[in-house]
């Protein structure tokens, strides 16, 4: 076989292999992580409070086992990874979440690294350039293998193609490794049980009812469904689902919306209790602040409503019309004073 033929055969085989690998990389979208994998990765990313810097996944202590079980419960109940990490951060402090991405400081970390890489690369290039183009390269020491020295343009192109393919695979690999699995939509119920994000807009109320009925432990979807009923004014159905949620977890959204519906049904005193509970559970929950300020004004306790209104107005998340209403209400209160 001539060198040329050999190179052709090699490039042909290599190209087929590249196609197969690329096919494997693209046609095998990372499956959504199972509940067990989520528990494993979550516990690896949370520091065990009792164990000298070990993560929950690594520690053999009893409390780490308990907290892993707790994470498994949360996952089963439909909490997202960020919510679960957030729960730990809220109780133990940010330092217990082994994932810098929760804070802006991590960006600084990556910038520092980037600068290091660039300056290193620049140093090498400077070393190279300092040689000068005019300098004549000395003959290579030793005997070189010249058998395949005549090389066709096609071979070079082939090598480049293989190189590009390898880099492409690398990039795909790096992104899929770092993103840690995307959310392929395969059976709504399956994903909800696994706690994945699902585009709920595409699903009808009836479908959601089915999923919720089949998986009574799932909270995320039940909340979404209840919210739909709540927004549509179907308070009876909304209340059923919210109470179902509250049986399992004192979710701030459920508490707040139940409170508002209670107020609308003419029981402001009870409503305040619900809304206060919602705020106790989640002090920054905006709708609860807006609701409670309205109820308090209605109850003739405007002074108590005032701080909530100010917070609503100061919140960057509040929609403009709410801010406007809050401002009007606040003006009224201050006028009355």
């Amino acid at each position: 076989m001539s060198e040329k033929t050999k190179n052709r055969v090699i490039l042909a085989v290599a190209s087929v292999a590249v196609v197969v690998i690329a096919f494997g990389a693209l046609n095998n979208p990372a499956l959504p992580p199972t509940a067990e994998e989520r528990v494993a990765s979550l516990s690896a990313s949370i520091k065990c409070p009792f164990c000298n810097g070990e993560s929950l996944a690594e520690s053999a202590s009893g409390v780490a086992a308990d907290y892993r079980a707790l994470i498994a419960d949360r996952v089963e109940n439909g909490a997202t990874d960020d919510e679960i990490r957030g729960e730990f951060a809220e109780r133990f402090g940010e330092a217990y979440v082994l994932d810098g991405s929760r804070s802006g400081w991590t960006i600084a970390l990556w910038v520092v690294l980037g600068v290091a890489v660039l300056s290193g690369a620049a140093a090498i290039l400077m070393l190279r350039r300092a040689t000068g183009r005019g300098e004549v390269a000395e003959p290579q020491d030793g005997v070189e293998d010249r058998r395949g020295a005549r090389i066709s343009g096609r071979t070079l192109a082939g090598t480049a193609a293989v190189g590009v393919a390898i880099i492409a695979i690398g990039v795909v690999a790096a992104t899929s490794l770092s993103s840690g699995g995307t959310d392929a939509l395969e059976g709504v119920a399956g994903d909800v049980v696994a706690g994945n994000e699902v585009d709920l807009d595409a699903i009808t109320n009836e479908q959601m009812e089915e999923v919720v009925a089949a998986n009574p432990e799932v909270i995320g979807m039940r909340l979404a469904l209840a919210r739909r009923y709540f927004e549509a004014g179907e308070f009876g159905k909304a209340l059923d689902h919210y109470f179902e949620v509250l049986d399992r977890e004192r979710h701030p959204e459920a508490l707040a919306n139940v409170g508002w519906m209670t107020y609308l049904s003419g029981e402001p005193e009870v409503a305040v209790q619900y809304l206060e509970a919602a705020l106790a559970r989640s002090p920054d929950y905006l709708p609860a602040k807006w609701f409670i300020s309205n109820v308090l004004v209605d109850l003739g306790r405007p002074l108590e409503a005032e701080p909530y209104l100010i917070e609503v107005m100061a919140s960057p998340d509040a929609p403009d019309e709410i801010k406007l209403s809050a401002a009007t209400l606040l003006q009224q209160i201050q006028d009355e004073k």
């Binding site: 190179n7 090699i10 085989v13 087929v16 292999a17 690998i21 494997g24 990389a25 095998n28 499956l31 067990e36 994998e37 494993a40 690896a44 990313s45 000298n52 070990e54 993560s55 690594e58 520690s59 053999a60 009893g62 086992a65 402090g93 940010e94 330092a95 979440v97 082994l98 810098g100 991405s101 400081w105 991590t106 970390l109 690294l113 290091a116 890489v117 290193g120 090498i124 070393l127 190279r128 390269a137 000395e138 290579q140 020491d141 030793g142 005997v143 070189e144 293998d145 010249r146 395949g148 020295a149 005549r150 070079l156 090598t159 293989v162 390898i166 695979i169 690398g170 490794l177 770092s178």
Partner: protein, 679 residues
């Protein structure tokens, strides 16, 4: 009495080390090494005596010594008793000291009269020893006497007192440390590696000091560097193995600050032994090698500091101690002193030939140095970052796995790629056609291997890419060996043997590279294809995980002198739950004097995978098991062993009058050990 004797030997060693420094400085001009004979002899003997006396105190259960009372007990088995000599803080410093003694002696043997470089190096080693024995004589005295005793253990110690009190019984070693034999081996290996880098550092300092900045110091220390690097590798691999076998969480590396502290010098040292080859072969990178050797030594001290000062929370960290500030001071002296000396001499370090082409072995080693340095930098920054942020802003945060993995995975894959090309590229300037000729089959084989993982149904792209690159590396090296050997008249096997024997440095390095590729494959499969599950089983009940079925057979109990063992027998069956393949016995060990049992997982290793069982809890009739299945886990330990074997092959001396290089790869030099991959 033992205590007094031990403290006395420490003082003698300290004084002798100081004498080495004084005599070294006085004689560095003339190179008269005979003036150092007595100080070195006394120092080495005293260092050994310190260690022997500590061991005697431990083996005779002298509980009037605080260290002995708090870290050993009469019920401790011999091997852990012996390992007690270095298992805890003060003992580890003694081990460090005795290693320094050993290495000082080995260096001294090779120094003749008139050897200014050698005398200077001895003086630097003496200075390091002064610090180390000074630490022993002050804040870290292993022979401090117990003045207030518990029934088991010692509450308070003093340097020396005639009113010593003795505990009735010792506290015994930390249960985690007496649960596995590896704990007796892993630290000495790591320390040998750590302390070993004192020698290249000492020679480098001496070279700067005596203004002999040529590559002579590298020639003289290259074997030291490779030996130390090999021991460091053994230490890190054994540490991962210990973690895997004992801690029961089913992993071997967690990016814990102390793990990072061991990994850091390894990364820099790996860069150093590669760039040292470039200087010895091509005369380039002279200044850079000084920077790397200083950084390696500083990194070993930094690692020691992080482990022993209590500034960072870690399972590995010793309890808080008073030695932190002293170590920090020493670190500062080393960094500032040695870089100042380097800066003062920098203008006289000759500007050597420049890099001719990036496409050459030189170019790829430079790339490797860049990647390793960035890697090391990322590890340092990631480890320190929480401390720095807290100091700057008061914010508390943690940098964990996700950051390190995100940095390590791409860097490791890139490094793996550079190994394959760099290992077979000619020096100075590679003709692309020549390079392609040497690599074409390897490229094909690597891609075929990657494609076959896809065909075999592996759905982890990380595994596919790693296998592609690893097979590429292995094939490139093996094909190179075949090419070179086939060109010889002997039969192929004989020829290959001769080729390796004639160029032990180069081929030792390539063996290490093959080991690194094997390690990389295992890292990918054990992280990308692992199966993890937690199952609850009642007696007689079965559950399936992966391709196996697990049946809870029965519980069992056993009483050893130092511990109470409770465990369960679990039968491992095939997927269909028909044939019993193996019976495993995961256990909980409760050590005397402790209340918390230590889990002891069991591992069943086959060529295909490890089946790993640990007890996670349970009640009277049920057991909760952590089940892990790690494909190709054995390859990690095997690959590690291959890396180390490569390091030791590289140490073989070239045969005298080595055969003509024309049929060898003339573009190769001795010694190019392994690249990185996180262990």
């Amino acid at each position: 009495m033992t205590a007094l004797l031990g403290s006395a030997t420490i003082l003698v060693a300290l004084i002798a080390a100081a004498a080495i420094v004084v005599q070294g400085i006085r004689n560095v001009g003339s190179g008269r090494v005979s003036a150092l004979k007595w100080p070195v002899t006394v120092f080495v003997s005293a260092a050994f005596a310190t260690f022997v006396i500590l061991e005697i105190a431990i083996l005779t259960h002298d509980f009037s010594i605080g260290y002995v009372a708090n870290n050993t007990a009469t019920t401790t088995p011999f091997i852990f008793l012996f390992a007690g000599g270095w298992a805890a803080l003060e003992g580890s410093i003694v081990l460090w000291g005795v290693m320094l003694g050993l290495f000082t002696w080995l260096v001294w043997r090779k120094v003749d009269d008139g050897d200014r470089l050698g005398v200077g190096a001895l003086a630097v080693m003496g200075a390091v020893s002064v610090f180390w024995f000074g630490l022993m004589a002050t804040a870290g005295n292993p022979f401090a006497v117990c003045v207030e005793a518990f029934t088991n253990g010692c509450a308070a110690t003093e340097w020396w007192t005639s009113n010593a009190v003795s505990a009735l019984q010792g506290r015994g070693p930390n249960p985690l440390l007496q649960n596995h034999i590896l704990m007796a081996v892993h630290p000495p290996m790591l320390y040998t590696g750590y302390v070993g880098f004192t020698v290249p550092f000492a020679y480098a300092m001496s070279a700067l000091w005596t203004r002999s900045v040529g590559p002579r110091w590298l020639e003289r220390t290259h074997r030291w560097s490779v030996v130390s690097w090999s021991f460091l590798t053994v230490g890190i691999v054994l540490g991962g193995w210990w973690s895997y076998e004992v801690l029961g969480w089913g992993g071997y590396w967690a990016w814990d600050p102390v793990e990072n502290a061991a990994f850091l010098p390894w990364l820099v040292a790996t860069a150093f032994i590669h760039s040292a080859v470039v200087e010895r072969r091509r005369g380039m990178l002279r200044s850079w090698n000084f920077v790397l050797v200083i950084t390696t030594f500083a990194a070993t001290i930094l690692g020691t500091f992080l482990t022993r000062s209590g500034v960072i929370a870690s399972v590995h960290a010793f309890t808080q101690s008073k030695i932190g500030p002293i170590l920090l001071t020493f670190l500062a002296l080393v960094v500032i002193g040695s870089f100042a000396l380097f800066a003062a001499r920098a203008p006289s370090i000759a500007q050597a030939p420049r890099l001719e082409s990036l496409l050459s072995r030189d170019g790829f080693i430079l790339l490797n140095n860049l990647l390793l340095t960035v890697f090391a930098f990322a590890v340092v920054v990631g480890t320190m970052f929480p401390l720095i942020v807290e100091a700057l802003s008061g914010d508390e945060l943690s940098v964990g796995r996700s950051f390190f993995d995100r940095v390590a995975v791409p860097l490791s894959l890139l490094l793996l790629g550079t190994i394959g090309v760099g290992a077979v590229a000619p020096w100075r300037r590679a003709d692309p056609a020549v390079l392609w000729n040497r690599l074409r089959y390897a490229v094909m084989l690597g891609l075929l291997a990657g494609a076959s993982t896809v065909v075999a149904g592996v759905d982890s792209i990380g595994v596919t890419v790693t296998v592609t690159l690893a097979v590429f590396v292995i094939a490139a090296i093996v094909i190179r060996l075949i090419d070179v050997a086939m060109a010889r008249p002997e039969s192929f096997v004989a020829a290959a043997g001769l080729v390796i024997r004639n160029e032990p440095g180069y081929w030792g390095g390539q063996i290490a590279h093959i080991g690194v590729a094997l390690v990389a494959i295992s890292l990918a499969t054990t992280s990308g294809l692992a199966v993890r599950d937690t199952i609850d089983l009642a007696r007689g009940q079965q559950a399936r995980v992966g391709d196996h079925c697990f049946v809870y057979v029965e519980p069992f109990e056993r009483t050893d002198p130092q511990r109470q063992v409770t465990g369960v027998r679990i039968a491992v069956l095939d997927e269909a739950c028909v044939y019993v393949q193996r019976v495993l016995e995961p256990r909980l060990n409760l050590y005397a004097g402790t209340t918390q049992p230590i889990g002891t997982p069991t591992v069943w290793t086959t060529l295909r995978e490890d089946v790993y069982l640990g007890i996670a809890g349970g009640s009277a009739d049920t057991v909760r098991l952590n089940v892990f299945i790690f494909p190709l886990q054995w390859l990690l330990w095997f690959g590690g062993a291959v890396v180390v074997a490569g390091g030791f092959v590289a140490l073989r001396r070239k045969p005298r009058g080595a055969l003509d290089a024309s049929d060898e790869d003339a573009s190769d030099d001795e010694d190019a050990p392994a690249e990185e991959v996180d262990v």
